[in-house]
């Protein structure tokens, strides 16, 4: 079933757009058959962005439309065919979000598709209960460590499946999700998602999970060697270099694929995010403008657009407009709440902003942006304790978020806990080595703790950064002079006494 699409993906250079179209078309069906709607949405978006020449001839469309098992001769032994009615029932329950019920009717099914849907339903049912248990964001009942209670039994069941027969890419993806919850420390999570994308190449959700496992450039290089050069792995690389804040590499990679994927929303968003990370806010804004124009009801990643409008001066009318249209599109998306929160923050209504970020988190507890932004708001209100909690939640979700690490540093500095502050600034500057702000703070802190060597190093690093503004530069130079001054003075006095 997955032969053409799964096992031997064509390499990027020799790839025709017709083949990309075929693979993506199939991926949309296969992902949504399994309830992987986000992956299906991604594939469909990418498919839609292809130029018109990618449409195949009518013949191959006919072949593709049919159920794969109808082409097989002996239906009586085809497990997909035998279990199809059960599958249809389970899928219907899944679609109306009756997850436990879906899992119950699919119990005992043998085909990979049914097993996936069963396990995934059970997983989602557990996630739903977990969310409900820890409803209150940062309130007395907020239990961030509440667990998905289905994980243990799902794990045991999947272990037996793994022993029975080879699992397909989707099942391996689910296996990885479960392992990740069961033991976030496990060393082999990365390998499992890697196995998943190699077995089934077009599940974008699996790629995202793989990207989540990679925290630095060395790890990225190790993984890239193992991947074939396909358009999927190219997209993966682009996504990863945005995550790892490697802006120049990212723009270069986008340039390489842009001629094939002209109208690609994903590439456009990644470009915008790169500009944003580079603090080139005007360029980022114009890309987002284009995106909104061609896709006015889009909410994915639009909260980043509101961050940009927030930072830029004189854009408050635009921000207000954006908040209104996103409310109109869907009031209850976490992106919408973040945009509205940013709006209130720009009006210095911090309490209101916090309540919106909190709502965003009620909708999606893993909304990284909302945790970080809420941390910023609490810093504004000098509520250091709450700020620490928010930032810590953010780095738990994604340890690559330098803003949250930096926020933690700032907060601990406010709390007069320099040792903690140093640690957090170090984490932040490790992710973003050419940002002068963190080095300047580190220099000052080391100075305060009388560790002149480290202080000198930090100020020197700050001066190497290109984005340092003139007053900070002057300040750093002065500090360096005074730091090197004191030992010099000693030397001088020694000379003098001689």
């Amino acid at each position: 079933m997955y032969n053409e699409a799964g096992t031997s993906p064509t390499s990027f250079e020799s790839l025709t757009l017709e083949e990309v179209g075929l693979a993506l078309r199939k991926a949309v069906t296969e992902c949504s058959e399994r309830g992987l709607y986000f992956a299906a949405k991604w594939a469909a978006e990418t498919l839609d962005g292809l130029p018109a020449s990618s449409k195949e001839s009518l013949e191959s469309v006919k072949m593709d439309m049919s159920y794969s098992f109808f082409t097989q001769k002996d239906l009586s032994t085809n497990i997909d065919y035998i279990e199809n009615d059960k599958y249809l029932l389970g899928k219907s329950y899944f679609d109306v979000k009756e997850f436990d019920r879906a899992a119950f009717v699919l119990e005992g099914c043998k085909s990979s598709k049914c097993r996936f849907l069963k396990g995934y339903s059970k997983y989602l049912a557990g996630e739903k209960r977990k969310e409900e248990e820890s409803q209150d964001i940062m309130g007395p009942l907020d239990d961030s460590k509440s667990l998905n209670k289905e994980i243990q039994s799902l794990w045991e069941e999947m272990e037996t499946w793994r022993g029975e027969s080879e699992m397909d890419g989707f099942l391996i993806y689910l296996y990885g999700l479960i392992l990740k919850q069961k033991n976030p420390q496990a060393k082999n999570i990365k390998d499992i998602f890697l196995e998943s994308v190699l077995k089934y190449h077009y599940n974008w959700s699996a790629w995202l999970e793989l990207a989540n496992c990679i925290t630095n450039k060395d790890m990225m290089e190790d993984i890239l060697v193992l991947l074939p050069d396909t358009f999927m792995s190219r997209f993966f690389r682009i996504y990863l270099s945005v995550e790892l804040l490697d802006s120049s590499k990212c723009l270069e990679l986008i340039g390489e694929v842009q001629h094939k994927f002209v109208e690609n929303k994903f590439l456009q968003t990644q470009t915008a995010i790169t500009y944003y990370n580079n603090r080139d806010y005007l360029a980022a804004e114009s890309v987002f403008e284009d995106i909104i124009k061609s896709d006015p009801y889009r909410l994915d990643d639009i909260d980043l657009y509101s961050n940009i409008l927030y930072v830029l001066e004189g854009k408050s009318a635009k921000l207000s407009f954006l908040a209104h249209i996103s409310c109109h599109t869907d009031k209850f998306r976490s992106e919408t709440m973040c945009i509205v929160g940013n709006y209130y923050s720009s009006k210095s209504e911090h309490e209101k902003a916090i309540s919106y970020f909190r709502r965003a988190l009620q909708v999606n507890r893993n909304c990284l942006a909302a945790w970080t932004l809420m941390g910023h708001e609490y810093v504004e209100l000098k509520n250091t304790h709450a700020a620490v909690v928010s930032y810590k939640r953010a780095v738990e979700i994604n340890p690559k978020d330098y803003r949250a690490w930096c926020g933690l540093g700032q907060t601990y500095e406010m709390l007069k806990m320099p040792y903690y502050a140093i640690y957090y600034y170090q984490r932040s500057s490790a992710l973003r080595p050419y940002d002068a702000r963190m080095w300047l703070r580190l220099g000052a802190l080391y100075e305060q703790l009388s560790v002149p060597n480290e202080s000198t190093k930090a100020y020197n690093r700050a001066l190497q950064c290109t984005d340092i503004d003139s007053s900070s530069k002057l300040q750093a130079e002065l500090k360096l002079k005074s730091l090197s001054g004191s030992p010099d003075k000693d030397n001088a006095s020694e000379h003098y006494s001689e």
Partner: protein, 520 residues
Amino acid sequence: MIVTVESSSSGASSLEEKARQWRNDAYFKNLYETAVFWGNKVMTMTGDLNDVLWLAQVHYNMGQYISAQKLIWNLVDSSAIKMEKYQEVLDILDDENPFLDRDYNSVDKNTEGGISLEASICYLRGVAYSQLSDLDNAKQWFKKALEIDVKCFEAFNELVINHMMTSKEEWDFVNSLKFEEQLEYEEAYFIKMNYISMLKKYEHITEIQEARSELENKFRLSNNADILLSHADELYTQCRFKECLEVTTKLLELDMYNQACLPIHIVCLHELREKNKLFLFAHELVEHSPDKAITWFSVGCYNFLIDQNDEARRYFTKASTMDSHCGPAWVGFGHTFAIESEHDQAITAYSTAAKLYPGSHLPTLFIGMQHLQAKNLLSAEEYLLTSSQICESDPLVLNELGVLYFQKLKYAQSVDSFKNALKVAEETKCRPQVWETIWINLGHAYRQLGELDIAESYFQKVVSMSPPNADALTALGYIYHVKEEFEEAIMYYHEALGICPYDPITHDLLSSCLKEMVHC
């Protein structure tokens, strides 16, 4: 009861034979007056002991215990037992009764008939003693009953369900019984397998499993209640509560009020924290059998589960007053004190359970644990060693012994104990979750011995379990801290604090680690 069904007589249809047939026929049709009429006549005609028994049996079933009592001692005794005149029974069944002089070893093969009269008398004597709380004598008589006739199941059942013997004693006893001498080969085998399947599941697991599979396959008993019970008991001993609950649920579907299964089912629901199911189940029991101690035990368990200690204690007391032999209720009663660190009261309650169930190591283990918590290391050692003598192969006992040695600062000895515990846990195929505590303990013991790498490997095993254990994370952080690998140490401390945000020890360790990192 004791119904000696005679093989139909050999043709000569004398009047006596006819009368016997009519009597039996009427008895099976519950026409007791008719049965009494004919039985009475036959008894007078023949004076045969069996005919006396028959008549007494009919009276017994009619609830006319006095008439029965007048007829024959044996039935006198069970009648008296129903009337709770235990001392009277013993007076009647004086120890010098004629059966004692017989040489039981020469009992002939008795495959046609039922349980021999002698055996049943021994059994009744055992029941009387056990009701008078003279458990030593009770045990002797139950054992004697089985030595005379291995078919006397009730005696065996009493011995097993009341934990009168340790698992070693049980095993030796079953193997000493004369199955082959008393019965044909197949029957002997069948009964022996049944008995083996009922033994304690701490030792001889493979033999017990084999016995069960023989019964299931050879004798086609795969859905039999007793076989399921044996399986449930094994899973329970291995702490596989979820699987155990599946088996007990199936069993209770077949037989809603299987008395032996109820405690296991209730305790499994408690272990799995199935509040809702336990609530419903306890309610059903209260509705259907409010006169049983186990019912109130289940209500106690429910209250214990929802942290209503006072209520739980009340219901456990109620259960133990209804049936002073209800061991689980005494243990539960003890637990309600233990959880509040009321060590003395807990120990008193456990001691009662220990007296009731001399063959079970659990009450002694619990007493030892209480002493350990109260830092009475001397008494703790005494009780834990006694417990380990009763049962050599429970990982829990070995683990507690390890903790004891750890507290006595004998780390090498404590490592040995923990390793033994792990070995036993592997042999008895316990659920991996049981191992978690042992791993943590081993890690700490090795850490004290300065074997940081080995210690780390055990903590890593713990951390890989779900949900992650904060204690192990702090310990891992500490190991890296000692090794001066601060980055790693800080990461682990943070994770531990993520689970227990207000743990003061981890906080202090983290602060000093951050400081050392800057100044090193």
